[in-house]
Symmetry: C2
């Protein structure tokens, strides 16, 4: 790939990413049920995927400090969506879990997001959509690997 082409691709990628992210952010913000912020939804979604997890996992996953997680989780506990439960063996560890209300909330949000994305993905041919996702996943993997390497 010659330098000029690369430069153009970078420019186009920057623009497209910025635009898609901005749109997604606005759409999510507007359609997210009941004053859930996007960060809060991310935390709920992660806990759901793990059933049980601790603050440190979340901090690693969200790429923020543990004190940021404490703040978000406290708000979710106040809303009755998440519970805290100390571990029996190692009392330093506090397990986080979704309350029944929390589970219901995640299901609602997932459905709303699914409907929205289905609308967009529906615009594309299956072949184009598949190719796109595959490249996107490769990019995600390359970036994650790079990030991991940088942390060492």
């Amino acid at each position: 790939m010659d330098g000029n082409m690369l430069e153009q691709l970078i420019e186009r990628y920057e623009m497209a990413t910025f635009s898609v992210n901005r749109s997604l952010h606005v759409i999510l913000r507007d359609r997210m049920p009941a004053q859930l912020t996007i960060e809060q939804y991310g935390v709920l979604r992660y806990i759901e995927s793990r059933q049980l997890c601790h603050s440190s996992d979340l901090a690693e996953f969200m790429c923020v400090g543990k004190s940021a997680i404490t703040a978000i989780v406290t708000r979710l506990v106040d809303k009755g969506l998440v519970g805290r439960k100390p571990d029996d063996r190692d009392r330093r560890i506090i397990w986080l879990y979704l309350t029944p209300e929390g589970k219901r909330m995640v299901a609602d949000c997932k459905a709303a997001i699914g409907r929205m994305l289905a609308g967009y993905i529906g615009y594309f041919e299956e072949k184009e959509a598949l190719g796109f996702i595959e490249t996107y996943e490769k990019l995600a993997a390359v970036m994650a690997e790079d990030e991991r390497r940088n942390r060492e």
Copy 2:
């Protein structure tokens, strides 16, 4: 496209987007010169692209309220990167522009981001990268159109 395939694509897209955005965010945060936040960089970049612009343009572009822009611009003015200049004819309007330092800062950031993206895009064949970008741009257009329609 059948429902099952669609559901899988949505799941994969959600994951990939989340992962790429998180990585980009961390990488930008760490490599961005001199305590510039990503929002601040977005504002600088937009002003650069327009030479002159006002708060309202920026609010529209960033999809936030005008008071959020006032706050960000004030911080950038304090840092000496942006200037404010009232319009001669319509004194309600205040033009924003980059100071020489602001221009230098944007150039530095663009170079840093370009180097980073070049590293990632370099992993792909030209054909794959081109196809990806094209689909991404289509997606951006569809989303922007939808958003525009929703605002009406």
